[in-house]
């Protein structure tokens, strides 16, 4: 059974068609890449899956649950985590709180218990803190737990964002350009990290990326979008030589 199935998904901004007839099937444990030129509708696909936008057509099914029409927080509570193209941390909050907030749906106590700090409050808070510190330790950020998120250097902010996404204990993780602004050395580290968390957290990963090195290096399947339309889908080898893909990236190849 597929983990995530998108069938004939379409989305329009006013008259502009951002995504049309988008089909996707992700199986448990897949690592899939989405590539395409700027404005191809890649991030829109992420926003449709996570509920930021509501698909105007089609359906998105996650483990048998229809996602179209649900709020982002309901979808996140189903264990779909994501990061953002331009980092969107809670900048003025501490590193620890950034991770702690993402536990929201998993922390079980009523507002009254929260107001009086009674009942399940203590146990649940301690569990959240322990889990958050564990995640920070995994990403080697534990010593920065009390630091304000905006004070972290860029690379660490990227790492913190992944840690935060993992805090909702996702089954499906959506990474939006995780390697943006990284140098080749950092990209290598990131590739290892993605492979590692995939194993460790038993994740299914869908990622958007412009860095071909990363996409071709770790993705098992790649989907190419252009102007909201799927151009091609297949293993990296096939995509590299696909005429339509080359055309979209390099322009039309003159016929001699």
């Amino acid at each position: 059974m597929a983990l995530l199935t998108a069938t004939k998904v379409g989305h329009q901004f006013g008259g502009l068609c951002a995504v049309a007839d988008f089909n996707l099937e992700l199986h448990y444990g897949d690592l899939m890449g989405v590539i395409g030129p700027n404005g191809a509708g890649k991030t829109t696909v992420f926003n449709l899956i996570t509920g930021v936008y509501r698909a105007t057509e089609g359906s998105i099914c996650f483990k048998g649950t229809e996602l179209v029409g649900k709020n982002p927080n309901q979808i996140a509570a189903l264990h779909i985590g994501r990061t953002f193209q331009n980092i969107r941390l809670f900048r003025d909050l501490s590193v620890l709180d950034n991770v702690r907030i993402a536990h929201h749906a998993q922390v079980n106590y009523t507002p009254l218990e929260g107001l009086l700090h009674l009942g399940r409050y203590r146990r649940e808070e301690q569990r959240t803190i322990d889990n958050s510190r564990l995640l920070l330790a995994i990403f080697k950020l534990e010593h920065l737990a009390g630091e304000t998120a905006k004070n972290l250097p860029y690379g660490l902010q990227r790492r913190l964002e992944i840690a935060r996404a993992l805090a909702i204990s996702p089954e499906l993780l959506l990474l939006d350009e995780p390697a943006a602004g990284m140098n080749p050395n950092e990209i290598d580290q990131l590739m290892d990290l993605i492979q590692w968390i995939r194993q460790e957290f038993k994740l299914t990963i869908l990622l958007i990326e412009h860095q071909m090195k990363l996409v071709m290096g770790i993705c098992e399947r790649i989907k190419v979008l252009d102007f909201g339309v799927t151009l091609a889908e297949g293993p990296p080898k096939m995509i590299q030589n696909h005429p339509k893909v080359l055309e979209a990236y390099l322009g039309e190849i003159p016929v001699e």
């Binding site: 941390l89 709180d97 907030i101 107001l115 009086l116 700090h117 803190i129 304000t148």
Partner: protein, 368 residues
């Protein structure tokens, strides 16, 4: 020497008995002071106003500071709480026979305000920033003109002759309870949700925070506290009219919040105290009394032009002070920081990075 003192001070702050001890002392004083006239009636009155203003500032800070919205409706919630409680004590409950019914009336005022807070929370699901500020302003006007047009509760003339039921122990009790509850709320998952909404609402929604629910709870708690403050205020002033709860009242609370610093309970307490005391100091009679020790060729209270016009001048001095604070101290006294005493031990320890020297951060620490 100073290091040693500071170390002792920090050790003292860590003691578990400190907060209960302080509260017990405070509560004891609140009982003893009126009983044995340790302070003049006037000073007692100011203390009670300080308490009420602390409730107002801390609860408004929940929405304006922690959540980052701009609500002007606080005086409206106060009015609802005040009128509800006054109607109960004057017409329904036999308070003279059973004094313990007074807190029930105050609680009812708070609950009525919370109900209205729920209604204000609903537009906040869709609207943010300036637009929400305008909606809350409209709400304030609706409340005011509704009260003005209901003859049964005195219309624009208000209600005179309210019993003076608010006493120092009651004010102390409500202030401590409500500040404690707001602090608890902030250091719960709902409070962290409130903070994340201020930082980035969409990201917070995507990180599984139920933003609508969190906003609803925050607005309701904030208006609940405002309602209780209103009920206490009414039974202290012994007269209420719609004019008392207009935009200037909301502005006063805003000044306390921004003077003390946004997103800080300690700041709001400081801001409310400073504001109330400063406003009282600027009264002509207080100023005259304060300066009367000066020889009369330097200062003659009866003849002093400045003093006799202070009533007008303080309406210039306070806003001017606010402008200066905003210009040179834009985050207020404690902006985004908190006294460590207000942060739960668990939170402090969780954020704590034990550095190789094993040193602890001291004094007021950055909580964000």
């Amino acid at each position: 020497m100073i290091d040693l003192l500071r170390k002792q001070w920090n050790l003292l702050l860590e003691k578990r008995w400190l907060v209960p001890a302080l509260l017990a002392t405070g509560f004891g004083l609140a009982f003893v002071i009126p009983e044995y006239h340790l302070l003049s009636v006037y000073v007692q009155l100011i203390l009670m106003y300080v308490g009420i203003n602390i409730i107002l500032a801390v609860s408004l800070n929940l929405v304006n500071g922690y959540m980052g919205e701009f609500s002007l409706a606080h005086a409206g919630f106060m009015a609802v709480g005040a009128y509800t409680a006054v109607l109960l004590t004057m017409k329904v409950l036999p308070v003279t026979d059973f004094p313990l019914l007074f807190p029930c009336a105050v609680l009812a005022g708070g609950l009525a305000a919370a109900l209205l807070g729920m209604i204000v929370a609903i537009p906040s699901f869709k609207v943010r920033g300036d637009y929400l500020a305008i909606i809350t302003l409209a709400f304030l006007m609706i409340v005011k003109s509704m009260i003005e047009n209901i003859d049964f509760i005195g219309g624009p003339r208000g209600i005179p002759g309210i019993m003076k039921l608010t006493t120092l122990p009651w004010v102390f009790f409500w202030t401590v309870t409500l500040v404690w509850m707001i602090r608890n709320f902030i250091y719960s998952k709902y409070g962290r949700g409130v903070l994340s909404i201020r930082e980035d609402e969409i990201a917070s929604d995507l990180m599984s925070v139920n933003t609508q629910q969190v906003k609803l709870f925050a607005f309701m708690l904030s208006s609940f506290c405002a309602g209780i403050a209103g009920a206490l205020f009414a039974h202290l002033l012994q007269f209420i009219s719609p004019r008392i709860f207009d935009i200037t009242k909301s502005t006063d609370i805003l000044i306390m919040v921004y003077l003390g610093g946004i997103a800080s309970i300690g700041g709001s307490i400081l801001g409310a105290t400073l504001f109330t005391v400063l406003l009282e100091l600027l009264r002509p009679s207080t100023m005259a009394a304060l300066l009367s020790w000066l020889p009369s060729f330097v200062f003659d209270p009866l003849n002093e032009h400045f003093i006799s016009h202070l009533g007008v001048w303080r309406m210039v001095i306070m806003p001017l002070a606010l402008i200066l604070v905003m210009l040179y101290w834009p985050r207020g006294i404690m902006g985004l920081r908190e006294f460590r005493g207000f942060i739960p031990r668990r939170d402090r320890e969780a954020h704590h990075y034990i550095n190789p020297q094993g040193e602890e951060p001291h004094g007021a620490i950055d909580r964000h």
